[in-house]
Amino acid sequence: MNAETKIESRELSYAEAIREAMDIALSTDERVVLMGEDIGVYGGAFQVTGDLVEKYGEDRVMDTPISELGGAGVAVGAAMTGLRPIFEFQFSDFATLAMEQIVNQAAKVRYMLGGSVSVPVVMRFPAGSGTGAAAQHSQSLEAWLGHVPGLKVVQPSTPEDAKGLLLAALEDPDPVMIFEHKILYKMKGPVPAGHYITPIGKAAIRREGKDLTIVGTSIMVHKAMAAAETLAEEGIDAEVIDLRSVRPMDRETVLASVRKTGRLLCVYEGVKTLGVGAEVSAMVAESDAFDFLDAPIVRLGGAECPIPYNPELEKAVVPQVPDILDAARKLATGAI
């Protein structure tokens, strides 16, 4: 993950990397404010803001009442008038309360107003299952926002990208939605010190390979990498692409890989139907890369049900490494 180009790099957790990005932003740009429920003294439901309130005070790290629609709207209005708010949803599921402000206002204001105003707001959405919090606290709704022109939507899978994409989002003049995976918060990885940017709209090739392309998003990138190791032992050489950005989607990186491998597997945690993988598949199927396809495009997505509570059920409804292995083997060996 091109750490070699960076001056200094330490091991940080994904949550720490995000906090560091916010710390840099708060210390270098007076316009930056953090807003969200219990992000102050509590440190955030997932301890992402941590102790930032002690360093920057309650005026910069603002606990909001439990008012997602209003809170998101305040962030939008503030962004239109000179602040650079970073709004944290406590769980991405609560974005269901704020879709009006995100979709009708943040995403459309600039266009509706003929370009006279931009809305540089950043919103953070702790997403995904695996915490035993059941159906209303475990959703992966990035596909909804990916469907909305005017927004940019990213899903960092590593600490380095979590920091770099947040810093990129803050420099972006338009609304950027960051879907963070809760289970990744504690994952550690190398993170360059200081300010740097991970470009929005660029996928990353996490592993080169020639036999098939696995496009994964968020936590599924790690599962895909684990599967790729095993596949390699079996003589199947998988290329693993971390999509990173749902909107805009990095067409070129995906197509180039498919042209090379001729086989595509999409792995994502969101519900399979109309999830991010549907777009990846359709984008490839309508491109010139179609002619290079040697097999159907396979998708592994979340099951067609809400996320259940029981831990075994919870695991069963999202793709796991054995599922990826199974699908990849079939795809690579022509069994599909």
Binding site: V41, Y42, D93, A133, E304, N310
Partner: protein
């Protein structure tokens, strides 16, 4: 005249309920306390996955608010809903089984702590969404009115929920349509770490009743009798077709918000202070003072509650897990190929 024996001046609860009813109320309060302690213990022992929100300290609010309700009447509950569920007559074994994610649980292991429901007893369910139950309660009240069932809905929610738009919309509609619903705000001073002072523009949440032209009342939520009196009055009003009310039970949660709470937003003193106002001994004292129970009776009720919980935990622990194959069952009433 000894004021304790002056029935006319006795607290509402003493005047209004039969001794057996009061005894049952105390039993339920103990059951809630023991349930929560059992849950906490099970969590520590790794039997529970996920999160949980304990209502220790709030037992009088849960039980007192359900006194006037029958199984036909509905409640909607919250993420902190175990107490409401017990108050509305749930089976403790099925509750624990749900908590343990078992097939025998109220939700067949699909819901967990935040979704325990018991529609048969009129409990429409806990809710993981703060404020999520408010419009649903109004809908249940609309059904009751349209279908003429005479049922009343008690809608539980927290002080934090009162800043959600759903609160405003729900109370307004209930008032405009004069629906049989009682909004019971359990004001335990904090929504997670955020105090009402830092999040809510009014001194008392019940003051907001003015905005919906409905009666509003702030009550000592640790005083069983006071809670029961206020909610009973509101339920009677609702049943008589006079519309909704807003009752604010001021209380306190002894434990952290959930297991991730570092408790940095309130002082030890504040917590100890409130623990001294424990609603359970207070209720026990009331019943003892009014010769309804002896100290020994109280001890027996407590011991019985403890045993019930023990059995419930054993039932849950021994119950089977749901089968993974059936994971998409119950998404739809009639199975469809999605």
């Amino acid at each position: 005249m000894d004021s304790i024996d002056d029935v006319a001046n006795a607290p509402y609860a003493i005047r209004h309920y039969a001794p057996e009813t009061l005894k049952d109320a105390l039993r339920k309060m103990f059951l809630i306390r023991k349930f929560e302690e059992g849950a906490e213990d099970s969590y520590t022992r790794g039997l529970i996955h996920g999160t949980m929100h304990l209502s220790i300290g709030q037992e009088a609010s849960a039980v007192g608010s359900c006194m006037a309700l029958t199984d036909e009447d509905k409640i909607t509950s919250t993420h902190r809903g175990h107490g409401h569920c017990v108050a509305k007559g749930a089976d403790l074994g099925k509750m624990f089984a749900e908590f343990f994610g078992k097939e025998t649980g109220y939700c067949k292991g699909r819901g967990g702590s935040m979704h325990i429901a018991d529609p048969g007893k009129g409990n429409l369910g806990a809710n993981g969404i703060v404020g999520g139950g408010l419009p649903i309660a109004v809908g249940a009240a609309l059904s009751a009115k349209r279908l003429g069932t005479g049922a009343v809905t008690v809608c539980f929610f927290g002080d934090g929920a009162n800043n959600e738009g759903a609160f405003h919309e729900a109370l307004n509609m209930a008032a405009v349509w004069k629906l049989p619903v009682v909004f019971v705000c359990e004001n335990n001073k904090y929504g997670m770490s955020t105090s009402t002072e830092r999040s809510t523009a009014v001194a008392n949440i019940a003051d907001r009743a003015v905005a919906y032209a409905m009666p509003g009342k702030t009550v000592d939520g640790n005083d069983f009798s006071a809670v029961a009196e206020s909610v009973d009055t509101a339920v009677a009003r609702a049943r008589a077709g006079e519309g909704p009310s807003l009752i604010e039970n001021v209380t306190y949660r002894w434990r952290g918000h959930s297991k991730s709470d570092r408790n940095r937003y309130r002082t030890k003193e504040e917590i100890t202070d409130w623990m001294a106002r424990d609603p359970i001994p207070r209720m026990a004292r009331l019943l003892i003072d009014h010769h309804i129970l002896s100290e020994a009776d109280v001890d027996a009720i407590e011991a019985e509650a403890e045993a019930t919980i023990k059995d419930a935990i054993a039932f849950a622990a021994d119950s089977p897990d749901p089968t993974v194959d059936a994971v998409t069952r119950d998404v739809y009433t009639d199975e469809i190929a999605a």
